[in-house]
């Protein structure tokens, strides 16, 4: 039995964040999977990380910049080439205003 308990509300909430719609069966599996995974992850609590700086980049590279010069031209046809739906040179989506 998993120590972490994932509630229906949590799965519902994460589904909203991730924009995933799970079937009832998938939800039950997801609850189990996530609880197991979190139990496993909780192993990290054995580690004393006090005073350790979180490391997002492994190498101390910094200041990678571009100069402010326009080099891209009109590439609209390429950008729209894979669009599932388009109109008037735009990507077409269901209406966003209620």
């Amino acid at each position: 039995m998993a120590k972490n308990v994932i509630t229906d509300e949590t799965i519902e909430y994460v589904g909203i964040l991730a924009k995933l719609e799970l079937s009832e069966e998938e939800k039950e599996n997801a609850k189990k999977d996530m609880a197991n995974m979190l139990d496993y992850i909780d192993m990290l609590n054995e580690l004393d990380t006090g005073g350790v700086e979180p490391m997002s980049h492994v190498f101390p590279v910094h200041n990678v910049f571009r100069e402010d010069v326009v080099t891209n031209g009109d590439d609209r046809e390429h950008m729209l080439a894979n669009a599932p739906d388009r109109k008037d040179g735009c990507y077409k989506v269901p209406k966003t205003v209620e």
């Binding site: 994460v14 496993y40 492994v58 990507y91 989506v93």
Partner: protein, 494 residues
């Protein structure tokens, strides 16, 4: 002569010497693919025959006119299906990108093309590189050429299987937590994950951005060095790309390891490691010792913590990286939907497979309000400690030697039922990605069922040359073993 049994560099030499035309090489690759795909299924997309041959003739002209004279000019190659190839389907083995034809190519692919490579197709993989078996592909599993009842490993399973089955001389893979080294080990081929930042990630469809790295997969170490020389570059389009002082990796191919200090982490040979794998890897270590390398056991520490740290970081980054697949700009959009949010949810729920959804859910959760510090920051701190442990080891050793995976290739269908067990299979490779280090997997024997074992060598950052030198020296002591499948059928030597 069976052209596909040659290494990439050998084939390149024959093309240069006009013993073989580029067209003949491409045709040989396409013929091998046609013959073996039914059994192996390494490819998601095989490039259009006419287009391949046209490209081959164009490369031939450039070779003839002296414009191209590199070692890979005219040699066919397969590309893992998470690297964008202009005009050629790039699916990440996912339904959601099932019809995506990029209008640009990945920088690594462009570099290959500049060197005269002829792309024959896109290889199968775990969906979005999430998996260790190539079974999570939407387009069906890839089988291990050594025994088709077994998986090729993953996520670059298609690339490794294609090389092992001699469908093409070499391939590109990508490695986020072991995805080049583990399938290389399972398929009996050589694969290297370079130091983070060595190969541009531009055009590589991201899984875990801070861990992803493209690398070569080939029959031997010399090929890997030659290929890495071509694909490595400082790319201004990738902010994490590093300008290296030295790209001449082939110079390191010297059969000499005298005095080289190799650390053998006790933590890599403990519980969970298959005894046959252990035996094969230690035997390989002895071979290096016999050539003058100095072996020493030591405690690397923290090995088991790498997996949870990895799954937090990679899942978190993936949850964000894969947010762009929403049915608006490209590829799959669900058919029936009422309104925007339903379109998003249905598109993504139908478009992504189970494992991808599992990781997106986990990643979204660990980043969500109230959990960020406990999970994500904790993982980044663990990563810092792991990096420090490696730094300490490399103060003493030139290289670290261990297995690439705890077992040989499992049977199809055995791994997916228990995700955590599957994740444990990455235990020897994952920490290398967290620390940004280079690692190579070299074939070093087989288990009693004839399934290959891979030895992993890990170097300090930017020390690929040491890796190549040791791996090359080891390889000189043994012969390349062809898989049985490659030796039968039209692959027979003429």
């Amino acid at each position: 002569m069976n052209l596909m049994s040659l290494t990439a560099v050998e084939l390149g030499k024959k093309i240069k010497a006009k013993e073989v035309t580029v067209r003949e090489a491409a045709e040989a690759s396409l013929a091998a693919i046609e013959m073996r795909e039914g059994e192996i299924h390494s490819f998601v997309t095989v490039a259009d025959r006419e287009a391949v041959l046209e490209r081959a003739d164009e490369v031939q002209k450039q070779i003839d006119s002296g414009l191209l004279d590199g070692p890979l000019a005219g040699v066919p190659v397969a590309i893992k299906d998470n690297m964008c190839t202009e005009g050629l389907l790039t699916t990440c083995s996912s339904k959601i990108l099932g019809n995506f034809k990029p209008t640009y190519s990945a920088e690594a692919v462009l570099n290959l093309e500049k060197a005269g490579a002829v792309i024959v197709g896109k290889t199968n993989m775990d969906e979005f590189a999430m998996g260790s078996t190539t079974e999570t592909s939407y387009f069906g599993v890839t089988r291990n050429p050594w025994n088709t009842e077994h998986v090729p490993g993953g996520s670059s399973g298609g690339s490794c299987a294609a090389v092992a089955a001699e469908e093409c001389p070499y391939a590109l893979g990508s490695d986020t937590g072991g995805s080049i080294r583990q399938p290389s080990s399972f398929c009996g081929v050589t694969g290297i994950k370079p130091t983070y930042g060595t190969v541009s990630r531009y055009g590589l469809i991201a899984y875990g951005s801070s861990l992803d790295q493209i690398g070569p997969i080939a029959k031997d170490v010399s090929d890997c060095a030659a290929i890495l020389e071509v694909i490595a570059s400082h790319d201004k389009k990738d902010s994490t790309s590093v300008a290296r002082e030295d790209y001449r990796f082939s110079e390191a191919l010297v059969d000499d390891v005298k005095g080289m200090k190799i650390g053998i982490p006790r933590d890599y040979f403990g519980e969970g490691l298959d005894s046959e794998v252990k035996e094969a890897v230690l035997k390989a270590a002895k071979a290096l010792e016999a050539k003058g390398a100095v072996l020493e056991e030591f405690d690397l520490s923290l090995v088991e913590y790498a997996i949870p740290a990895y799954y937090i970081i990679a899942s978190a980054e993936a949850s964000s990286n894969l947010a762009r697949f929403d049915g608006v700009k490209y590829a799959y959009r669900t058919e029936d939907y009422a309104g925007l949010h339903q379109m998003y949810k249905k598109t993504r729920s139908e478009g992504f497979g189970e494992e991808v959804k599992r990781r997106i859910m986990l990643g979204s959760f660990v980043l969500s309000s109230g959990y960020y510090d406990a999970y994500y920051l904790k993982a980044l701190r663990t990563k810092a400690l792991i990096k420090k442990a490696f730094d300490k080891a490399f103060e003493k050793y030139d290289l670290i030697l261990g297995p690439a995976a705890p077992t040989t290739a499992p049977r199809l269908g055995e791994s997916l039922s228990d995700p955590i067990k599957m994740y444990l299979g990455d235990i020897y490779t994952i920490s290398v990605n967290l620390a940004g280090l280079p690692g190579i997997s070299v074939p070093c024997g087989a288990d009693k069922n004839g399934l290959p074992v891979g030895m992993q060598l890990i170097g300090d950052c930017f020390q690929e040359k040491k890796l190549f030198r040791a791996a090359y020296a080891y390889e000189c002591a043994r012969n390349y073993e062809r898989c049985p499948l490659a030796q039968k059928g039209a692959g027979k030597d003429e």
